[in-house]
Structure formats: C-alpha cells, structure tokens
Symmetry: C2
Subunit: 239 residues, 2 copies
Amino acid sequence: MEILITNDDGWGSKGILTLTQTMETIAHVTVVAPDGARSGMSNAITVDRPMTLRLIEHTPTRDVYITNGTPSDCVKLAVNIIYKDTRPDLLLSGINHGSNAAVNVIYSGTMGACFVGCEQSIPSIGFSLCDHHPDADFSHLQPLIIPIVNQLLQRGFPDRVCYNINAPIGELKGIRFTRHARSHWEKEIAEFIDENGEPYYQLQGVFVNHEPQAQDTDEWALAHGFVAISPTTIDMTAK
Amino acid sequence: MEILITNDDGWGSKGILTLTQTMETIAHVTVVAPDGARSGMSNAITVDRPMTLRLIEHTPTRDVYITNGTPSDCVKLAVNIIYKDTRPDLLLSGINHGSNAAVNVIYSGTMGACFVGCEQSIPSIGFSLCDHHPDADFSHLQPLIIPIVNQLLQRGFPDRVCYNINAPIGELKGIRFTRHARSHWEKEIAEFIDENGEPYYQLQGVFVNHEPQAQDTDEWALAHGFVAISPTTIDMTAK
C-alpha cells in the first residue's frame, strides 16, 4: 500500500510524525508537508509565487518532501510531480493539533488537503485531536488509526466524499459516525494599539454550538468522549 | 439598506468597483476588501500575524476599508469591528475576475467570504464573471445585479445557504438555477528550473467537466450563455 500523508501544521509537528510512524508499519509512506505552520489555510492554493519541493528524508518506508506551499498545494505537488501517472491508495492528513469539527471544517487546512484528494478521486481522511498544544498527547488515538482506516477502506468512499475524524482528549468511550454540528464563531477579533497609536487586529473567538443536545453531531460525540467520524462532501450545492 | 461588499481581487479591481457603484444607487455600502490580490485563498484566515484595517474613502453612499487580510478576514473584521452589534442586510462578494463555478467553489476566496457571511447568518451572494482579464467587460452583467439580488432576497436564504452566481462573457440568454458540475483539475503543476539549477513549481491546470451533457449544472448554463445561480451550503456533511 502506498499512502500520501500531509498536514497543515508542517513537517516537524508531533501530529504528522505520529501519523507517519503509525502508517509506515503497514505501508510505504510519502509525506508532502508544508515547511512550517499553515493553520487556517482552508483550501487555499498558491497562485502568486513559485513553489518549492524538496526531498529531505528517504528511507525504505518513507520519503519526506517539504514545500513552501499550502496543504492543498502539497496534494497537487504530490499528484502531479511525485506520483505522475500513478496514484496513492490513500491520502491521510494530520494528525492536526486542534479540532476541525463543526463549522471549523470550512477553515481547516487539514481538511483542505483532503478536499483536493477527494477531487482527485483518492480516498482521503483527515485526523484531528482537540488539543492545540505542540506537545499534545496522541497516545490514546494512535492505536485506533489503522483500524479506522481499514474500516473506512472496507466501507468504501462514495464519489466526492472524504472523512473528517476528530478525537477528544482523555479516555475514549468509542467511535461514532456523526454530522458537523450547526455552529458559528463570535467575538472573533481582538483589537490592539501599536507603538505608533495605530490599531491592529488578531483573530480569536468564542465557539457557539447551535445544537448542543443533538446526539448525532461531532460536537456531542467529542463532548462525551467519542471519536467523531463525519463523512464530508466537496459538493457544496445546497440540495 | 446596508450592504457589505468584499472580494478576493482587492480594492482597485474593476469587478468590486462595478459592484460598489451598482449597489450604492439603492443602498449604503461598506466595502471591506483586501489591499491586493487574494485569488485562490478559499476560506483562509490569518492566524500568524496582525491584521490592519484602514478607512480610505468616506462618502454619503460608501465607506471603503482595506486590510492586509484574506477575504474571510474582511468579513470577520467588518462584523466584529465595524458593525459590532448591528448586521448588514446583505453581503455581496465580487464581482470576481474569473469563474468560481463547479469544483472551483472550494478554492474561491470570493465564495470564502460568503461562507463566513453565511456562518454569521447574513444573506450572502458571490458574483463572478468567466473572464480573468483585469479589464474584463461587466456591462452585460451589471444591469442584472440588482434584479437578481432583489429576487434572491424575496426567495429568502435557507439556514447555512448562500448563492454562487457565475456569468459567461458575451450576450446573455437568461438566468438559470444550477448545481455545481462534478469536475476536477488535472496537469496542475508546471515545473521550471531556476538560475541555480533548482526546480520550482507554479500552478496551472486543465479543467475537466465530468458531466458536460447535464443541463442542470452551472457549467452547462455558462457554456450556453446563461447566468448560473447555484445555491451553496456550508454544511459539508455528506448525507
């Protein structure tokens, strides 16, 4: 099995190393990752400057490339420059340091990479842990990754559908198939004044779940100790 | 009526000026636009540096702000810093220089701004013209903008639904409600060699429509001279 791995925290983050070390026990892994943090990049692509692509590690089980591009660029570079006329059997993105559940899916670089994989008809799965800390503990999620991947591969990937998997911190109660909770962010901008008296702004925010009682949502699952698997489509047409 | 206008080509592009001049004949317009081109930014948000916001024009019918942020940031800055406890009646994004039809919707900064408006329960509409040229001719589309906006406001905006409107160049045959055509991009990366012999890469691509015969798609409408209106949801759960 040949697996393409990417993320939005960059090669050097604990999450992508955990995912790579896990998957190279059963497959050959090609990592194409950003050369630094690209959180909140959504499906952004680089159209205003040249992109780099550099092989920095080559072992029997892994090739690791880094690029100055976005997570979506990583998948496009892999498909067009590395794989050319072949395709990986699977694209995995993450493990992200931080939740990509609910409305966060539309801002997620982790899932942006999966959407490109999905566009290219590659089975694509994003993994995220609800902990932004650079030293986040993935040890409870790690043993579940291969079983979840195998189960999803057996179920199959419907056309233009990928999977957005989020895990809570702490003891796990199980795994649930979910939908993205209706939600929004508020109080999103903090205002500061610089040394010249000019204002500047930084993103922050308070997450608001519109339906905390709905037991079929990713947010409910996460709040109750379950890993949430949300089937996610790149067909954004409102039916 | 109070209208928020943004785009991804930046203030200074012909498309946003056309949209602003059109709407300020019937409403007060607040423009919050990027200070330069942000094409392909999707729903990206700025998390790694401070953002600016500067009022550069104030007339009885328009306030124009520019920022170093993304299209999505523009909407967040407008909602949190400019409107605060009020909300605009409408968010318009565009007119984009270039198509945002079919799979392009997931990469679109124009639509990324609409998705933030949609998250904030603001009626949101993106306009795009299938012509990347900076001096693109909007004169055939311009007279339709206010009638289309009025019709969509009368129909109403379902929860978490916005509209992705694309117009062809040349004579218009009419207006159709559509869905995003199944499609993908291929041959997406061009490889070059720099003066040091190092490779670098730029995005390009060939667009492939999987269903050119399907008359309910945006691509069919555009190819046959119709303005395509695709209802678009930010609920990406695959049902």
